[in-house]
């Protein structure tokens, strides 16, 4: 099988999803509660459930990813076919030094949920906050879904995946965000970065790189 994301960006829309209460509670930093039923406050439990239900009708997961061959490993940068500057930093070099390819990815949950958070903020901040937390968790969730698809492509081709490394972490500066989005053709899913701050809009979004690590045979 040829590597399909080498030929061009792969776009995914309508990513199926389930909102896991337990994960949402964790995102809200409520330790120990495994489910809404276990929560010590009935009002809180009801409100979070309401936010989850609302989120179901607002989230639209979409993503794009594209794979590039790694052509050179420099001390401070990994050079890929599309760019000699994007994959910079010592963490990056550590991550991708034993890789043949790198998949760039970007995803978001759509603009409807953040817009509703904003509208709700004026009238009921608690509800806005719960919805925000569901949304932020789901942005990560969408990234995991893409991750699964990419991982499967990696394994099929006889490689191991690296962990997912997001732009803006460690020494991979956020100033690389616009180039990353350009290379994955993020405009296809309506995702762009603000000038200067490089914040992605819609804001519940994730961008990252995953490496194709050579698996040495036993």
């Amino acid at each position: 099988m040829p590597i399909r994301s080498l030929a061009g960006a792969v776009v995914l829309r309508n990513i199926p999803f389930t909102i896991d209460e337990k994960k949402v509670l964790r995102e809200m930093r409520i330790p120990k509660a495994g489910s809404l039923a276990e929560l010590d406050s009935a009002a809180l439990s009801r409100d979070i459930k309401k936010a989850i239900d609302l989120a179901y009708s607002l989230i639209q997961g979409q993503a794009c990813y594209r794979t590039f061959r790694i052509t050179e490993v420099r001390p401070d940068t990994i050079v890929i076919e599309g760019s000699g500057t994007l994959l910079a930093g010592s963490n990056m070099v550590k991550l991708l030094a034993d890789c043949d390819c790198a998949t760039l990815m970007a995803c978001h949950i759509g603009g409807a949920l953040p817009a509703r958070v904003e509208a709700l903020s004026a009238e009921n901040l608690a509800e806005a906050f719960y919805l925000e937390r569901v949304g932020t968790w789901m942005a990560d969730y969408m990234a995991d879904q893409v991750d699964r698809v990419v991982e499967s492509e990696i394994v099929k081709n006889g490689y191991e995946r690296t962990f997912r490394y997001a732009c803006g972490y460690g020494d991979w500066a956020l100033s690389h965000q616009p180039e990353l989005l350009r290379l994955v053709e993020a405009e296809k899913i309506g995702l762009k970065a603000m000038p200067e701050s490089h914040i992605m809009i819609p804001r519940m979004a994730v961008s990252a790189v995953i490496g194709w690590k050579r698996k040495e045979a036993a």
Binding site: V11, L12, P16, S121, L125, V155, S197, I199, R214, K215
Partner: protein, 808 residues
């Protein structure tokens, strides 16, 4: 080759071939070069590989056309030579096969994702597959193999396209499963088999994993469908060795699984990546020509989603189809559809799922709306959030088809009846998309007598069978009638359940809510009807999943109708319920004062009740200041302490803060008219320029207001000048700045420098994900707050400092 391929593969084991790519590379195919082009450029090499396989004992060889579809050939600019390439490939294979092997035209995935998940429209995919299948069929292929598919929807498109182009050739549908036993898009082997058996003649698994993981897949498929099963493992999971992809298992290791495959139910066995003629030779030796193993396959009508299969028929759990996605008689719902909104549909889908529906009916028929388009959107939206099988419900054939095109599973089409026009228009759709169908036993009119309804059922069945739609694709709707108006007819409905079951051996369903029109206590009528009908043998119903009584009626009636062996399900459900009832109810306790109840409402975040409580307190003569100072303020401070002790968390804090705000809404006008309310201090809050994250800051504002500060919230993405203007205008004591990212937090320094430069009197505090006390010190601001729990403390301290310094 003697005999028809399909007849043979039903009876005995036939051998496929192994990998082509690696053998061509040995013959000089450059890495990365399209093997399909070699059909024209180096036919001798291809023929030699085929010959090796035939000599090794392959009964079926696959043409070298895995990537010879328009879309894939376009990657090399060779799409114009599609017919030529596919024809050449069949001819080469035929030369090598002679009369010793069948030639299978090979089709692979398109390398893109179909809408609605991806971008390629379903119809385009069908046309692309049809084009290649036509070329293969016209060149004389004996059968078509569609393989290495990981998306059920794409495979459906391929099968439909191939059937269009080659109506008489056997079709083999082969999917790829990962080591967790699912396809990349989450389909399990049972569901793949159930969804594909109506479209393909042989169902298979290939590529992706080694042989060990595949035996279980074969077993699951063989237990689901009566179709012959195929299997083509890789020579293990690939690894990279010196820059090359290598498949580690030897021919002996792979062949050792042969017997297991056959015992699990496979009759078409070969190899995929990494296998060579040696592998086939050994497989031939171990299993070649063996008779097919006997298989036990349960009956029932199957419907599936992408990830789930349910069965309808005697002995299976009664199937509850949720009725709620339907605009009939629901104004708000119809309005949402008219506006093109899917939110209500999604909400009902979730709710029905949570209330235990097994499948969902989807009806979006609203007059004067584009129903086909809405159906496609609704089916897509529902699938995004629940994995239940769907019943696509419309009187409009185009809407049915639009729904089927975005649905990867095997849907239940609702519905056909015995009217000529319906039969002619709906059954071809059912056939084409391999769906199951609900057959209403009405004709031009609704017959009263069961015998007449049976006649309609027979008519539908006969027509369906004639088109190649099987009995296990049809569920008969026995026509539940309003008992208030048609008492005899209603009795006949129950009789129809018996008759259709007995005479046709077919599954039955009913739209339960119809029975109660015009009568009081409708749920009782539904559930009585359900119990009677299930007793008579009803297999499924379109029901209201929100009615607990419905679930109880089904559980009870299932005991008497062979649907709950050993009463296991019943015991399980009702034992759990009994446990629940044993739990002590919350103790009533002594009646509390209104002040205490206000305190508690704030602590518990009881937003709904706070305003009523405050009003009650005022009516009882409590002073507004007392409510604010002696009930609410201690409550929020108490919560702050619990937060500090990690007994309550940020969500609790926010719920309480919002509750307090609602209470204060009532108190404010009273307090203000009673006298000047002394504010603790004035704070201008803003998320800095370039940053759009403001919920964290908003929460801080709310909390500060509850603590008695005057807060001017400027929102997000606020430039320095606007902050300074507002601070001047409102004579602020303090400026609070928020930023979430390193790229925006430097704006804080800009504000700070402007304040210092102009010698302005404001203190500055900062907060937000990336900020730290060190950063605050570094840029020379006065304070840092880490979260909503300490923002008030920081503000109190800074305002005091500001005022104490006598700046005012």
């Amino acid at each position: 080759m003697t005999g028809h391929f399909l007849e043979r593969v039903r009876r005995e084991v036939l051998l496929l071939d192994g990998s082509m790519g690696a053998l061509l590379q040995n013959r000089g195919l450059p890495a990365g070069y399209a093997p399909d082009l070699w059909n024209l450029e180096n036919p001798a090499a291809i023929e030699a590989v085929h010959r090796e396989y035939v000599d090794a004992g392959s009964d079926v060889i696959l043409t070298n056309t895995f990537g010879a579809s328009r879309l894939r050939l376009a990657e090399y600019g060779a799409e114009g030579r599609l017919a030529e390439i596919n024809r050449a490939a069949v001819e080469i294979a035929r030369r090598a096969a002679g009369t010793r092997a069948y030639v299978a035209g090979d089709i692979g995935p398109l390398g893109t994702t179909l809408a609605p998940f991806g971008e390629l429209p379903f119809d385009d995919a069908v046309a692309i597959f049809a084009e290649q299948a036509r070329a293969l069929a016209q060149a004389g292929a004996d059968l078509i193999v569609i393989e290495t598919m990981f998306d059920l929807l794409e495979l459906r498109a391929a099968l439909i396209g191939a059937r269009d182009a080659a109506p008489n050739l056997p079709l083999v549908a082969s999917m790829t499963f990962t080591t967790d036993g699912l396809t990349d898009t989450g389909t399990d082997p049972e569901t793949a088999a159930a969804a594909l058996e109506t479209l393909a003649d042989v169902i298979a698994v290939n590529c992706s994993t080694g042989p060990d993981a595949m035996t279980a897949v074969v077993e699951k498929m063989a237990r689901t469908t009566r179709r012959p099963i195929g299997v083509q493992p890789n020579a293990g999971l690939p690894v990279q060795r010196e820059g090359r992809t290598v498949f580690p298992l030897s021919a002996e290791e792979v062949a050792a699984f042969g017997t297991g495959f056959v015992e699990a139910g496979a009759t078409l066995v070969g190899g995929c990546c990494g296998t060579t003629p040696d592998y086939i030779r050994l497989l031939r030796k171990t299993i070649g020509g063996r008779p097919a193993s006997p298989r036990a396959v349960p009956g029932g009508v199957k419907i599936t989603s992408r990830m789930k299969t349910v069965r309808i028929g005697p002995g299976f759990p009664f199937l509850k189809i949720g009725e709620k996605i339907n605009p009939t008689g629901k104004k708000a719902f119809a309005e949402a559809i008219r506006e093109g909104r899917m939110d209500m549909i999604v909400a009902e889908a979730r709710k029905q799922y949570e209330h235990g529906a097994h499948a969902l009916d989807v009806n979006v028929g609203v007059p004067m709306t584009p129903e086909a388009e809405n159906m496609a959107r609704a089916v897509t939206a529902v699938q995004n959030i629940v994995d239940l099988p769907l019943v696509i419900d419309s009187a409009n054939v185009d809407a049915l088809e639009a729904g089927l095109k975005v649905y990867p599973g095997r849907a239940l089409v609702n519905s056909v009846n015995a009217e000529e026009e319906k039969l002619e228009r709906v059954l071809p759709l059912v056939k084409r998309y391999g769906a199951s169908v609900l057959g209403l036993v009405s004709g031009d009119e609704i017959p009263e007598k069961a015998a007449d309804r049976l006649r309609n059922a027979e008519k539908i069945l006969k027509r369906a069978l004639g088109m190649g739609i099987a009995l296990d694709q049809i569920v008969f709707d026995v026509l539940a009638l309003p008992v208030s108006a048609m008492q005899d007819g209603s009795r006949e409905t129950i009789e129809t359940v018996r008759l259709v079951g007995r005479e046709l051996g077919a599954a039955t369903s009913a739209g339960v809510s119809n029975v109660s029109f015009g009568l009081p206590n409708r749920p009782l009528i539904h559930n009585t009807f359900l119990a009677l009908a299930i007793g008579a043998g009803l297999d499924a119903g379109i029901v209201n999943p929100y009615d607990e009584g419905m679930h109880r009626a089904v559980e009870g009636a299932s005991l008497f109708s062979g649907r709950d062996p050993g009463c296991r399900r019943f015991i399980e459900i009702h034992q759990a319920k009994a446990e629940e009832r044993k739990k002590p109810a919350a103790e009533a306790g002594t009646p509390k004062s209104t002040r205490d109840r206000i305190f508690e409402a704030v602590v518990e975040g009881e937003r709904e009740s706070i305003q009523a409580l405050v009003r009650q307190g005022l009516a009882e003569g409590l002073d507004p200041f007392a409510v604010f100072l002696d009930a609410m303020t201690p409550a929020i401070r108490h919560l702050g302490e619990l937060f500090g002790a990690r007994k309550k968390f940020i969500p609790h804090l926010i719920a309480a803060a919002e509750t307090m705000r609602k209470g204060v809404e009532i108190l404010s006008p009273l307090m203000e008219s009673a006298g000047i309310v002394e504010k603790k201090g004035t704070i201008v809050m803003a998320t800095v320029k370039g940053d759009v994250h403001d919920i964290g800051k908003n929460i801080c504002c709310l909390m500060l207001r509850n603590y008695g500060f005057a807060v001017i919230d400027l929102g997000k993405n606020v430039p320095c000048e606007a902050i300074l203007d507002a601070a001047a205008k409102h004579r602020a004591d303090l400026i609070g700045l928020s930023a979430l990212m390193t790229t925006t937090m430097m704006q804080m320094k800009i504000v700070r420098d402007a304040v210092k430069e102009k010698g302005l009197p404001y203190k500055i505090m900062i907060g937000g994900a990336v900020t730290t006390p060190e950063f605050a010190r570094e840029i020379g601001v006065d304070g840092h707050g880490k979260d909503v729990g300490d923002v008030t403390g920081v503000a109190e301290r800074l305002v005091e400092e500001a005022r104490g310094a006598g700046k005012r």
